[in-house]
Symmetry: C2
Subunit: 752 residues, 2 copies
């Protein structure tokens, strides 16, 4: 450009030719603008316009020349904040030019290049805040691992060392038979190491240590999950059903062989037509007093046992749940030991077994259907702890109600609802370890001219993974609590503990599903490859939300338990009573629901664990009272209770969710209070804040509807969640390393 | 009980012995109560207390007797609403008894058996509202199918008839090689039917019909998704890259053979280190003027091409994206045709191909990595529509900016971002069809004594599936719109259309992931079995959120486009300008944000499509203006733009989400307006209301924070969503049948 004043247009020319967001329309805008500028001669206008002919674009060299002129100006004038300021310097900053400010600002607006960010995009970036951010650990990883492992550290380490052996290398064959046999072989090794019988009485070769058994289940879950489920079916479901529902004669006869895996067996409860509603099972066990036998029978195809683990290949016996019939009278569901295969693996007469075939995951477990055609078993095969047939052939039970007896039987099996959420927890930890370690190294995009940035430095990526890491830590401590409550249970606490376990089973398994989904997406195509393990983790745990009780059904059950407790505590509560219940402590009400509290956005307040717990407790109580009120209103208005419960199902889920979240937060806080190592404590406090605030953020609609918080506060909480994610990002890798998952178990190449 | 007055306790006895929620504590409560009742003689107290001895429970017969007495009373006295009223009748309703009301009510409260629902649980239920509810169709399914298929009905039906043939029976082998060959064979059949070349020019044997090509992709997606992706790789990515980036000489040489599948090929863009940030690709194509050749080279292991479909087994050529180097100068990423195998499938010299191996899904597609070791290709193999090397060996391009040229090249490939969301849509439809049809038949639980109820009658189950059905219908129409915009595109609309396609790709694929997750859980264990198809649908589409652009990255890109449009429209907007933008029409502001509107819970208002669209538009504008404002503030405060964009990433997602939802709702409403059949229209209006209101419900936190709605209104919306779900439940099966998916494609036994 001959006239140096014309250089005022360099930035515009450069931008219209290079920015992929500027279109044809902008060329016209710029042309018009040039023609409207009276200070330009016609010749100059022509020269300028010639540079905007899309049929004869500037050369690549010309474009690069403009670019380098711009970069030079920006380098020498660091304070430049608009295109016009840059244009001024380029054109020599003469006073005539300065008068053009208004026109040029308008042009910038019309072209959409008015933002300061446009300047940023043109600058060769030095290291920006985002690109230079990286991991720094403020705590000793081993100390945190010790805190997580707690009293079970010994057995955890033993299991880890076993599953790290070469013979536990993952099976790569897609042949279902090879895989199933490998898993079976692994189970035998574990049995030999006395891990399977850990929960059985010592007199039958066991370890008499249920707490250790749960720790084994959880630790095994860092490895192949088919192994865990096969292990759980054999030693947990099959073995514990004999132990919990049977009596001495059964223990003596079976427990040792079950614990050594000499006697592989099944837990045959679910039927095709009855999954959630197990009370409706249709298989029958008809007593024959003369023969002193029961006849087990499947009345129709859809009453067959389905999804039964160990059934398709390895199981030799099964605990079969069936309606006991004596003299034509139905005495409800009871459990019976039924042989299904002989020692040579031949299926016995009257038994038909079909393979469930390929599944979404857990293909190392041989699930099958079992059909009984008048199969006769001796009387002693009834698991008779809660009900029996006496010598006269009469039904006997200390629990007269069939319903209650059935639920008492189920209650003894609550262990499964502790083992599964703990297994799910381990899978979530594996997924997070893989995804976070990969995100710390994987680089993509970066500031203009700068190098690429680890994707974990992106706020949205932190948002995807770190609240989930916090929640997974929170669940760790909550499941420790559930386990300890279960270990120290008294009979009167059982309904509460059963509800707690059922609820936490849903909470933990849903968390795992969500965590692994996010890990899959966060790791992009790499996580789609089988070798990176997310595939197996995700598909194997997918059914965790279904088995041991469908999560949605469990959530309803827990809510019913909460309502029942609520009724016991408060009876026929009126509106006033409800309010009193919600604000049990009058002082708390006043301090929590006044405008100062509902609008309080002080950093210290937002990070205060007491504020968090109060908010969770308030939500728990309010959702419960409100569901109770609504139910009462519906039934009072004439709706059948069954229909009324249907109407409030959505609220019931809220009741349980709020209850569980209060428990989880409370237990996280209690666990933190007992941490002695100050550095571990500091990072755990931050994680706990992130858990609490990100849950409040998820529920902000509820808090705003209720008036417990106002918009200014929920917005401040969103910012605080962002900030906590940013602050925790440097610790993220160490936080997953504290899970201390064996490398051979992680195995994913992207995690190393 | 000798004294008939004692019968007053029958309900309590029955309940403490049978209700599984009552515990030890309640036995004690009841004992104490009995001892406190002065009207009972010591003998009577003893008799009563003897029935509460847990060591000597009542017999099962005794319990049944109590139960039948209770049932008789309830049958004869339908108005009974409390335990006490029942007790009164049982004990003979004498006046003494009536005086005990206060005491007994307190007892009921203490035992937690005070609710009316307790009575409901004791009644033998007739058919309740919930249990008698069932499917009724108010529209003709075929008419709705016609509306959905629109102009493409012919080709859709042709494809359906082809994929319903016996040779398209699903492959059941888990052997990856068998599966890959089956998929390849299927592709050949489709090529023979002239489906693959549908989008190519007629002169090269094609159908010159891009709209039909998209319809084919979508319809094929009712079948195996490996087939769709293999088909898309060959005819879409490989063929269209030649067509879009090459010139006549390439068309003449390749297109016919590509369309007939005589020449299988690949689209080799992604590298291990560069997935989302494709501008950073590292493969080089170095020009040699003397030889008139390019040398394609992989500079290091992590610059290898990865995940390339057709690479591991079948591909003979590939469109390779590489940085063009001439005389040591880097001219940015360009595309080249590179032979990788000879006709006998032998890998050519200099080429190393590795198999990506087993994946989470799409195992019928042979993805591989490709490594180039100084591979020489002739000059004519450069796809030279947008850039070329002239006779003098100089670089030439009508687009001088490397950046812009690259994005222009990518822009021509936008078709993939229409094909994939449409394929995802079909998969969501398949999942919903299976889940809804199963839920309509699957029965579980029911009122006491009544028969079991189809699970779709449960409100929570409706909540899980029906809003997702509504959203899937909404997306159907939105993708029709995207397709038609693409078909009628002008150059100046391209940035908008690209953003729209990128955004809808994310919106539709995320919907599919969520839909299939819900379908899996909603169908319980059945959906875990491979035979029921949810497995394949879910795992095959899992990577849809990643390929053709990672969804999270696309969301950011779309938001940047929105911000750029916003800046063009409003320039350096001040706070006042922002407000004006949000409330473009001043009258709307007044009517929308006054207390009458923010609290309006009239049914007609809540169902009003104008209210819905206004709410969506308001959110779209507000999130955009607010993100722009925040960005400006951050940059003004001195943050580097790159860092500022990082800080607002979370808001950027909101911007795009709100934009897409407005588009989706708007297009659903526009499509409905043109429906002529009144019955189809009526049901579509309900579905559209459900889509709109359930999205508002999801975003209620935002609306409350903003003050656009108050709590009373968001609560009313939640109720309305419940009500719409209930109202649509009878039509649900017909609504999925209108998708008209071939039975052989659905194939899931639970859907029949």
């Amino acid at each position: 450009m001959g006239n140096s004043k014309l250089k005022i247009f360099i930035p515009h020319f450069y931008l219209v030719w290079s920015d992929d967001l500027l279109t044809q329309k902008e060329f016209l805008t710029l042309q018009k603008f040039i023609l409207s500028q009276a200070w330009l001669s016609v010749e100059e206008q022509k020269e300028l316009i010639s540079k905007l002919d899309t049929k004869s674009p500037p050369s690549r060299a010309q474009l690069n020349d403009w670019k380098s002129q711009i970069e030079t100006v920006l380098k020498e004038n660091n304070s430049i904040k608009s295109i016009f300021e840059m244009s001024l310097v380029l054109s020599g900053s003469d006073s005539l030019m300065k008068d053009l400010r208004t026109d040029f600002i308008k042009l910038e607006n019309d072209l959409g290049i008015s933002g300061v960010e446009i300047i940023g995009d043109l600058k060769i970036a030095e290291n920006t805040l985002t690109s230079s951010y990286k991991g720094v650990t403020t705590f000793e990883i081993e100390k945190l691992t010790k805190i997580l492992d707690g009293e079970q550290a010994l057995i955890i380490n033993k299991v880890k060392s076993i599953i790290s052996r070469p013979e536990f290398a993952y099976e790569t064959s897609t042949d279902i038979n090879i895989y199933r046999n490998k898993v079976y072989k692994w189970c035998k090794i574990l049995a030999k190491e006395n891990l399977g019988n850990m929960a059985y009485p010592k007199e039958y070769g066991g370890g008499d240590n249920i707490a250790a058994y749960f720790a084994i289940m959880e630790t095994l879950s860092y490895h192949d999950l088919s192994l865990v489920i096969k292990f759980g079916v054999q030693f947990g479901l099959w073995g514990m059903s004999v132990h919990s529902l049977g009596t001495e004669k059964h223990y003596a006869k079976y427990l040792k062989d079950i614990g050594s895996l000499k006697l592989p067996g099944c837990f045959a409860m679910t039927e095709t037509n009855h999954g959630s509603n197990v009370k409706g099972l249709e298989t029958t066990a008809t007593y024959n007093h003369e023969e002193q036998t029961f006849t087990i029978h499947t009345p129709h195809q859809k009453a067959q046992k389905e999804y039964i683990g160990n059934a398709a290949v390895h199981g030799q016996m099964a605990t079969v749940f069936a309606k006991l019939i004596i003299g034509g009278i139905d005495y409800g569901v009871n459990a019976f030991i039924v042989p299904i295969r002989d020692k040579n693996s031949h299926i016995l007469k009257g038994i038909t077994i079909n393979d469930c075939g390929r599944k979404m995951g857990l293909n190392g477990v041989d699930n099958g259907t079992i059909n009984f055609d008048q199969v006769v078993i001796p009387k002693e095969n009834m698991l008779d702890r809660f009900a029996s047939v006496n010598e006269k052939g009469e039904f006997e039970s200390p629990i007269p109600s069939d319903n209650r007896r059935f639920f008492t039987m189920l209650g003894t099996l609550v262990g499964g609802r502790i083992g599964i959420p703990r297994s799910a927890l381990a899978a979530a930890k594996s997924g997070l370890t893989i995804a976070i370690k990969y995100s710390d190294k994987r680089r993509q995009f970066g500031p203009e001219g700068g190098s690429e940035v680890p994707i974990l430095n992106y706020r949205i990526h932190q948002r995807r993974l770190l609240p989930k890491l916090a929640k997974t830590y929170a669940i760790h401590f909550a499941l420790q609590y559930v386990t300890s409550r279960f270990m120290a249970r008294s009979e009167s606490e059982m309904p509460e503990i059963e509800a707690l376990a059922a609820g936490m089973k849903a909470y933990s398994t849903w968390n795992t599903t969500a965590v692994l989904q996010e890990c899959r997406e966060a790791c992009g195509g790499k996580a789609y490859l089988w070798e990176n393990r997310i595939d197996a983790l995700k598909n194997d745990t997918e059914v965790y939300t279904t088995f041991e009780g469908d999560n949605t059904v469990l959530m309803q059950l827990v809510a019913k338990n909460r309502l029942s407790e609520f009724r016991k505590a408060f009876g026929q509560m009126d509106a006033k009573g409800m309010i009193q219940y919600v604000y049990e402590n009058a002082k708390t009400v006043i301090s929590e629901k006044n405008p100062i509290a509902t609008r309080n956005t002080d950093e210290a307040h937002l990070q205060d664990d007491k504020f968090h717990l109060s908010a969770f407790q308030y939500r728990e109580k309010t959702t419960l009272a409100s569901a109770a009120k609504r139910l009462k209103k519906l039934i009072d208005s004439g709706l059948a209770p069954y229909d009324a419960f249907n109407v409030v199902q959505h609220q019931m889920i809220d009741v349980t969710q709020a209850y569980l979240e209060r428990i989880v937060l409370e237990q996280f806080q209690i666990a933190i209070a007992s941490i002695k190592d100050p550095n571990s404590k500091t990072v755990m406090v931050k994680l706990c804040q992130l858990y609490a605030l990100s849950q409040i953020e998820i529920n902000k609609g509820w808090y705003l509807e209720d008036g417990y918080m106002e918009a200014v506060k929920t917005k401040a909480i969103r910012k605080m969640v962002n900030q906590l994610c940013w602050n925790l990002r440097p610790e993220a890798v160490s936080l997953v390393e504290a899970f201390n998952i064996p490398d051979s178990c992680l195995s994913a190449p992207i995690a190393f």
